[in-house]
């Protein structure tokens, strides 16, 4: 069975280590905050200017002056801080943020990522994504393996305008966990009940497959 979005988020949450500062993009990445394993201390950074972001406020306690980068009302946890956009991207470019999790439209076998523009159709802008992918050492992409038309988004080469070059290290999709190596995508885990053949058939890029590929463990 292919994973749903919550299960993709659960699998990615296993990558978060103790004492990490983490920046979560919009979409599936936002869900990762709900599944951080017990005993792991993390602080979430939102690039609009908060470190120590907490859950949504209780109804009636929303503050228009306290939002995340997705413009959602949020809360600040004990120990949180607010700061300006210049300092926020100083944290990002200065590699003080340990892990960046973001969505993508396409990822290529050399680590290129495209997620901000479909020429002539959709132009929303890159927001902070270009700064994040150009700066972070540790980038995990959360995405669907194929688009709505059934075409692979895991490619030999991106077809859409790039957000960053050679930067993605790991991709988690509804079908598989892939690592990007100097030789291209390496299949490291498959979704429970999904065959290697199915993953290969759903992937435009070549996959390095060594030995038995274990199933993801998702509780």
């Amino acid at each position: 069975m292919a994973l749903n979005k919550e299960e993709i988020a659960k699998r990615i949450a296993q990558e978060v280590q103790n004492n990490y500062f983490v920046n979560l993009g919009i979409g599936i990445p936002t869900l990762v905050a709900n599944y951080i394993p017990k005993g792991i201390d993390v602080e979430f950074q939102s690039e609009n200017g908060v470190l120590g972001m907490g859950p949504f406020p209780f109804e009636g306690e929303e503050d228009a002056d306290v939002i995340n980068a997705g413009k959602q009302t949020i809360t600040a946890l004990p120990g949180a801080s607010f700061f300006d956009s210049g300092m926020s991207f100083g944290m990002i470019r200065g590699q003080h943020v340990d892990l960046t999790i973001l969505g993508a439209m396409e990822v290529a076998e050399n680590g290129d990522i495209a997620n901000w523009k479909i020429p002539g159709k959709m132009v929303k802008g890159m927001g902070g994504a270009m700064d994040l992918v150009a700066s972070a050492d540790n980038i995990i992409v959360a995405m669907m393996h194929v688009n709505k038309a059934g075409e692979s988004k895991i490619l030999k080469k991106c077809s859409l305008p790039l957000t960053g070059v050679g930067c993605v290290k790991k991709v988690v999709t509804e079908l598989a966990v892939l690592e990007i190596t100097p030789k291209g995508f390496k299949l490291v885990e498959r979704a429970p009940g999904v065959s290697v053949a199915h993953i290969v058939a759903s992937t435009e890029a070549d996959l390095l497959i060594e030995g038995d590929i274990p199933e993801m463990v998702i509780d």
Partner: protein
């Protein structure tokens, strides 16, 4: 003490003319100078170039200026929340320069700090890099980006004093501190304007030297773009 206080938004915006370049603080609808934006609509200034992270929504924030076609060019990082914006951009009515958010912030800050240009890794290898100088530092490629040049900067703060000192609240801080002092004239719109000496100097986020005019906004709607809550 040099008194920066002006008594109305009309007085604060004096000198803003057709064809000028304005910086406007805010992230989404959070921390935007909403009283000044309403007055820009009333003033009917046009052909503006606006530097602002976002373009508001259809009926609030900079969306109000877009509706009246007062903006010729937008320099932003993300404009996904505004359908009218997307329509004007795709039809070619509106000139748009999309740039990485951290680069946007740093180009403001560079202008404030007298740094004409700087290198950043953001955007290398993408269409943002087209026509730009680049250089390798520590084994990594970087783009040369330039400080903005703007006529007016309009920022929004929570509290301010008559000396122009500013204090921000929560994530309404965002681009506002980076834009203060980044244009020829900076106008600060505040929720509460107090006499100089009232605020603790240790709590000031932006010193008054970066602000030429300060006024208290008449009313603040502070619209929430995505109201997300959890149940008790």
């Amino acid at each position: 003490m040099i008194n920066k206080k002006v008594n109305s938004v009309q007085e604060a915006l004096q000198g803003i003319q057709d064809g000028m370049t304005l910086m406007l603080g805010g992230f989404g609808l959070c921390g935007i100078p909403e009283n000044a934006i309403s007055e820009l609509v009333k003033k009917e200034v046009s052909n503006l170039t606006c530097i602002s992270n976002n373009a508001g929504v259809d009926d609030f924030g900079l969306g109000l200026l877009l509706q009246k076609k007062q903006i010729k060019k937008m320099i932003s990082s993300y404009v996904g929340e505004n359908a009218e914006f997307e329509r004007q951009m795709l039809s070619g009515e509106l000139d748009v320069e999309l740039i990485p958010q951290g680069t946007l912030a740093e180009r403001c800050r560079a202008a404030q700090a007298g740094i004409p240009a700087f290198f950043t890794p953001a955007g290398f290898g993408t269409e943002v890099a087209e026509g730009k100088e680049y250089r390798e530092f520590n084994g990594k490629m970087h783009l040369l980006e330039h400080a903005f040049k703007a006529d007016f900067s309009i920022v929004k703060a929570w509290k301010g004093d008559t000396a122009g000192n500013l204090i921000f609240k929560g994530t309404a801080r965002n681009f506002n501190p980076c834009m203060a002092g980044s244009a020829k004239i900076t106008i600060a719109e505040v929720e509460e304007l107090v006499e100089a000496g009232t605020l603790d100097p240790s709590h000031i986020h932006i010193p008054g030297i970066f602000v030429q005019r300060i006024f208290q906004g008449e009313k603040f709607e502070k619209r929430i773009e995505q109201r997300t809550v959890r149940q008790k």
